[in-house]
Amino acid sequence: VKISLKSLQAKLLAPLVAAGVLVVVVTIMAMVQLQSSELVDAGLITARAVEQQVRSLRTFYTREVVDRANEMGTRVNYDYPERRDTLPLPDTLVHELGAQIGEEYPGTLVRLYSDHPFPHRAANASYDAFEKEALAALRRDPAQPFYRIERYKDRHGTERLSMRYAAADLMRASCVSCHNAHPESPKTDWRVGDLSGVVEVVVPVDTMAAGFEAGTLRLSLVIAVGFLITVAFTTFSGSRSIRPIAGLVRVFSDVGRGNLMSRATVTTSDEFAVLGRSTNEMIARLREVVGRLLAASTQVSAASEQILASSRQQEEGAVEQTGCYEEISGTARGNSDAARNIAREADALKATSERMLEAVENGRESLEATRAAMRLIVAQNEVIAERTQRLYEKSEAIIRIVDIIDEVSDRLDLLALNAGLEGSRVGEVGKGFMLVAEEMRRLAENVSRSTNEIKTTIQEIHRFTQGSISASNQGAEATKSGARETDKMSEAIEAIFALIEKSTEAARRITVATQQQLSSTQQVVDALGEMNRISNRGLSASRQVTEAAAELTNLASSLNETVATFKLAGDEVSDGQPPVS
């Protein structure tokens, strides 16, 4: 197996190279920074020097030439080129000098400008962007000069990189009187210290910049070369020091492919030797572990297949159980329906028996009324019998009396007859007596007839009362037996009443019991539903178990396959690399 170490070397070298590049870049950037600040400083020094020289010259000219010319009566004005007796004004001198310098040093410029220029200058005065900014800045702070480096086009049209420098020109004591007195002065109330104008100096810095750039380039070249040399050296020594890794890499590669019979050759005594020995130990340990793993995975495979089989059986069992629960649940529901029917029937029975109870109650009341009536009849019957008996007795008494009357009338009759007989014996004398006796007899016969009628009547009454007595006796007997019958009937009705009450109570109990049964059955149905749900959960759990077992089997077989890729037997092979020194 060919092993390339370039990547490792690259990894080792990359930080080094990056650090080197960073150093070079930073150095160059620092140099550029330094260069530009140096450029500004150098330009500033030059410009300030020119400015101070021009000022010194103006001061000198004002003090030494203009004052003396004024004393001597020589005219001093800006229009000196046109008149031979006139000297230039100090500022005019500065203008002219600037123009002269510009001629002699191309790219260099010295000029004055003001917020209040003299009319002859104001006519052709124009300010670029820098000049406007400089005026504004100096008006704010006259002590701080305004400057920057920019590309500047001079009057010949040559554009160069230049330092533009502007400093405030303050009104001096020697100038105030003159400026206030000058007839063309645009401002006549000047005081010492007022900002009269700006002195601008433009100095070209392009040559200086070019010099700086050349220096920077040279320095960069030197750094780069040094860096390259460093890299080369590092690469060389690095490749030398990591060479023993190649053997180890090959060994690890073998192990990675599953060859656990590979081993590292250890020839040195440095850290790599330690690494090699450790690697060999590790491979040996790994071999042992993989061997055990192989055995374990075979066992796991077998076990997981058993689990799979048993969990499938359990699943089938759970399915059957669910079916059973459904069946039982159906039965219980049917039972519940039946119980509901029974409850309905029992309710109906209860209602019927309650109605019956009511009816029997009514019957009982009627019977009670009948019994009372019977008792009344018996009592009345007794009264009637007693009265009839008394009537009978009375009529017998009447008969006795009538018998007496009869007897009396019979005697009367007899008496009358005998009297008549006596009368007839007496003859004519007894005739009246006979008539009386006859009349008496007739009376007695009337009485006898009457008594006979009375007797007949009384005997009829007797007959009737006897019939009445026997009838009333029979009636009493009948009513008594009727009362006995009604008593029996009452007892029977009481018994029926008790029975119906019992039956009502029984129906009530049946209703309660069936209600309880109903609720119990409902509980059974609920419980069965719950059991079914649990069983379903069990089923899904056992399905999950089955799936897990199947997965486990798959895992075990793939584990087996994986473990089988390891080579655990055969001759040990060395990595075949030259010993690492």
Binding site: L414, N418, L421, S424, M434, A437
Partner: protein
């Protein structure tokens, strides 16, 4: 009112004599006119109406308990005490060979020819005063017993007229006969 046949005339005469003998009519009445008033006791034995002249009836009694006579003939019902005398009571119906008088109400004490006796009768109807002319002889076709001497009409009924003397004589014969028979 009177029928002028010889039999009737004969009967009337006979009856008048008999009545006179019995003292029922005064002899003057019996002689002078036929319009003589006669008094009878009108009574019944069973359904048969009889009449006895009041002169032959001494008293009418209620039926009272009788004292039995041992070994007496059937028509002799017993004896009773009447006004201090012992009187035998007979049943004429038995004597005439008929059923005994049941439910007899009265006992008539009769006397004739110095004898007296009591006869049981069903009832005494009245004491009748009749014209002697209404008394008739008993028609022979009826073959009346020997103590019946005539008949008379009371309204619709026919009363057989008894003679106490003949009845008592007959009783006496019967008693003697029965005694001689014994």
């Amino acid at each position: 009112m009177s029928r002028e046949d010889p039999e009737t005339k004969e009967g009337a005469t006979l009856l008048r004599q008999a009545l006179a003998e019995a003292g029922a009519v005064s002899p003057s009445d019996a002689r002078e006119s036929t319009a003589v008033r006669v008094e009878f006791v009108h009574f019944t034995i069973h359904d048969q109406h009889y009449a006895l002249p009041t002169t032959q009836v001494s008293a009418i009694l209620r039926v009272t308990p009788l004292t039995d006579l041992p070994h007496a003939p059937p028509h002799l019902c017993g004896v009773l005490s009447h006004q201090g005398r012992i009187v035998a009571v007979v049943d004429i119906a038995i004597l005439d060979g008929k059923e005994p008088v049941s439910g007899a109400k009265r006992i008539l004490i009769i006397d004739g020819a110095g004898l007296d006796a009591g006869i049981r009768v069903s009832d005494v109807i009245e004491l009748a005063r009749v014209d002697a002319t209404v008394v008739e002889p008993v028609s022979a076709s009826l073959s009346p017993p020997e103590h019946v001497v005539g008949q008379l009409r009371r309204g619709d009924v026919v009363c057989l007229i008894m003679d106490a003397g003949r009845l008592l004589a007959r009783l006496r014969q019967r008693v003697q006969g029965s005694a001689s028979l014994r």
